[in-house]
């Protein structure tokens, strides 16, 4: 099933025309309404009249996450505040979050692209979508919600967590589609198994799983244990949230909604655009976003575009699974975590440069993050109560900043291995 046959099966020629028109319009919009882009375009002496086709995109400057943070909170808004109808932020960014503004047109577009993504996994009007992505500032919950509404399906806004209730609801309401992180889907399978649930008798037929990296091995496990078709969904707050891309039933890469989000793959070192098929950093231009449009946004996700047609009939360009990051961002249970955030919290508590190590593991299908902190003169106490209070304080501070519970273990000085004087900050033991 294809939601928008006209837009999802554009011929190359037609796509090029549309891309050219949208890009021309976009550069004028950002130049006129966002001082950051005006300065950048002027400084690079780019003649906007020379931007006439999509191939001219390589002349334009990149936008980075730092640029967005520098312009926090509303410096990247291209429209007056009165036309903004919703704001979302990234889950866990360093210091200030990344902001996404939405006009009612943007919400419409979001519903459209999410409708495409859900349709790609077989969702139709008579389906019941159990939406276990978090509702709130996080884009996951509401993004799926808008797509479901657009299709006219029945969406159950159960949000994340409360696993036993999730399992009860999916049985009682006969949910047919589940949306959550892939690791949470396996957790549902595990808890369901403990409760004696036979997933062959549960109505679920498909799931859109995303917000964290996963693999084909995990897919096989999810499909077997939950007895459904598991498809990958990709998105990021900066661009729209979920809905940037989704797999079709042929499971050969995610189809990017490329009439809204124009993808490029670049060499992250040089910025040079790489030909289709080569691995590099994904860069996205939001061709149609009204509130917070972005020129050539560097996602820091490493992947490759897949040339050629797809058996499903869509001509929208496909992209491989995310293979890594150009920065040190970790994704823990769908939450973006930067080691620098944890460092900042420890610094705040200890008042001196902390020696710590972050250990990421997947225990019983859920990501576990534990932090080892070396004992020092400031933290030591002669009572167990005092040391446990320190551990609990670190746990609580991290939970309040990142929204996830971590384990903290105090260790002896110099037990964290240092290479060239600097400790390896992150040990990722997950086998995804």
């Amino acid at each position: 099933m294809i939601w928008n046959r006209e837009r999802e099966t554009l011929t190359d020629r037609k796509k090029k025309i549309i891309h050219g028109e949208l890009l021309k319009n976009l550069v004028k919009r950002v130049y006129d309404s966002i001082p950051f882009y005006k300065e950048k375009i002027d400084a690079a002496r780019i003649n906007l009249d020379g931007i006439t086709s999509i191939t001219d995109i390589a002349k334009l400057p990149f936008t980075t996450k730092e640029n967005l943070i520098d312009n926090y909170p509303f410096g990247m808004f291209a429209v007056p505040m009165s036309t903004i109808v919703e704001i979302h932020t990234s889950s866990g960014t360093t210091g200030k979050p990344v902001i996404g503004g939405y006009t009612s047109g943007d919400i419409d577009m979001w519903g459209e692209v999410m409708a495409r993504c859900l349709t790609a996994s077989g969702t139709a009007e008579n389906d019941i979508i159990q939406n276990a992505y978090g509702y709130g500032l996080f884009t996951g919950g509401l993004g799926v919600h808008y797509g479901a509404r657009r299709i006219g399906a029945n969406v159950i806004p159960i949000s994340g967590g409360n696993t036993k209730r999730q399992i009860m609801i999916m049985q009682d309401f006969k949910s047919t589609i589940i949306t959550c992180t892939p690791s949470y889907s396996l957790y549902l399978a595990e808890v369901g198994g403990e409760l004696g649930v036979d997933f062959k008798k549960v109505s679920l037929k498909a799931g859109n799983f995303g917000a964290e990296p996963w693999s084909d091995n995990m897919r096989k496990e999810i499909e077997t244990r939950l007895n459904l078709m598991a498809l990958d969904i990709y998105g990021l707050t900066e661009i729209i949230g979920p809905g940037v891309a989704n797999e079709c039933r042929y499971k050969n890469g995610v189809h990017i909604c490329d009439d809204h989000f124009y993808p490029e793959i670049i060499n992250p070192e040089t910025g040079e655009v790489l030909p289709p098929g080569e691995v590099g950093e994904l860069v996205i231009t939001t061709l149609t976003r009204e509130a917070t449009p972005l020129l050539r946004y560097r996602t820091r996700d490493i992947t490759a575009l897949i040339p050629g047609e797809c058996k499903c009939g869509r001509t929208s360009v496909r992209m491989k699974r995310i293979m890594g990051r150009t920065d040190d961002m970790l994704i823990i249970r769908g939450v973006n975590v930067f080691p620098s955030q944890i460092e900042e919290i420890l610094f705040h508590i200890e008042g001196l440069e902390p020696h710590y190590q972050i250990i990421v593991d997947r225990v019983g299908n859920l990501d576990e993050l534990s932090i080892q902190v070396e004992m020092n003169e400031r933290l030591i106490s002669d009572s167990i109560k005092g040391l446990e209070a320190t551990e609990n304080k670190i746990v609580a501070e991290i939970e309040s900043v990142l929204g996830i519970k971590v384990g903290v273990k105090l260790v002896e000085p110099k037990t964290i291995v240092r290479s060239e004087g600097k400790a390896k900050r992150v040990i990722d033991k997950r086998q995804i």
């Binding site: 004992m375 003169e377 106490s381 002669d382 167990i384 260790v411």
Partner: protein
């Protein structure tokens, strides 16, 4: 009497306490009293030694994290009810004991109890008022 105690942070690993006692032994530092408090992950080894300054120095050189603080040493008759009498005094004055450990002196008719209070001076006056022997540093050879 108020006396200084050192506390050393140790992870629960085989041989760690041996290492600490060995370092002190090699440096001719005598351990007068000792107690270990532990959780599943770590422990705190608290000691009264005969040369605090030197003990802190040699342990720090070996990358141990050491904390010094005051505790109160109280002499208690080594007979049933000896400790209870002391605790009764403290209880009456509503003085909370953070933790407590004991060791025995020669001749063996007295036990020396080490008390950790939030405010050692307050506890000392309370104990002395009740005529209890708050053990002096010199007498114990702690200097």
């Amino acid at each position: 009497m108020k006396t200084k105690q050192i506390s050393v942070f140790v992870e629960n690993r085989v041989g760690r306490i041996m290492e600490i006692t060995e370092i002190l032994g090699d440096n001719k530092i005598n351990i007068r009293a000792l107690s270990l408090a532990d959780t599943s992950d770590f422990g705190i080894l608290r000691m009264i030694v005969d040369d605090i300054g030197k003990a802190v120095k040699v342990l720090k050189e070996k990358d141990f994290i050491v904390k010094e603080n005051y505790v109160v040493a109280v002499e208690v008759p080594d007979k049933p009810g000896g400790l209870a009498a002391v605790l009764k005094v403290l209880g009456k004055k509503n003085i909370n004991v953070e933790y407590i450990y004991a060791f025995f002196e020669q001749p063996q008719d007295k036990a020396l109890i080490i008390f950790r209070f939030e405010n050692p001076d307050e506890a000392i006056s309370a104990l002395m008022e009740s005529g209890l022997n708050v053990s002096g540093e010199e007498k114990r050879g702690v200097h």
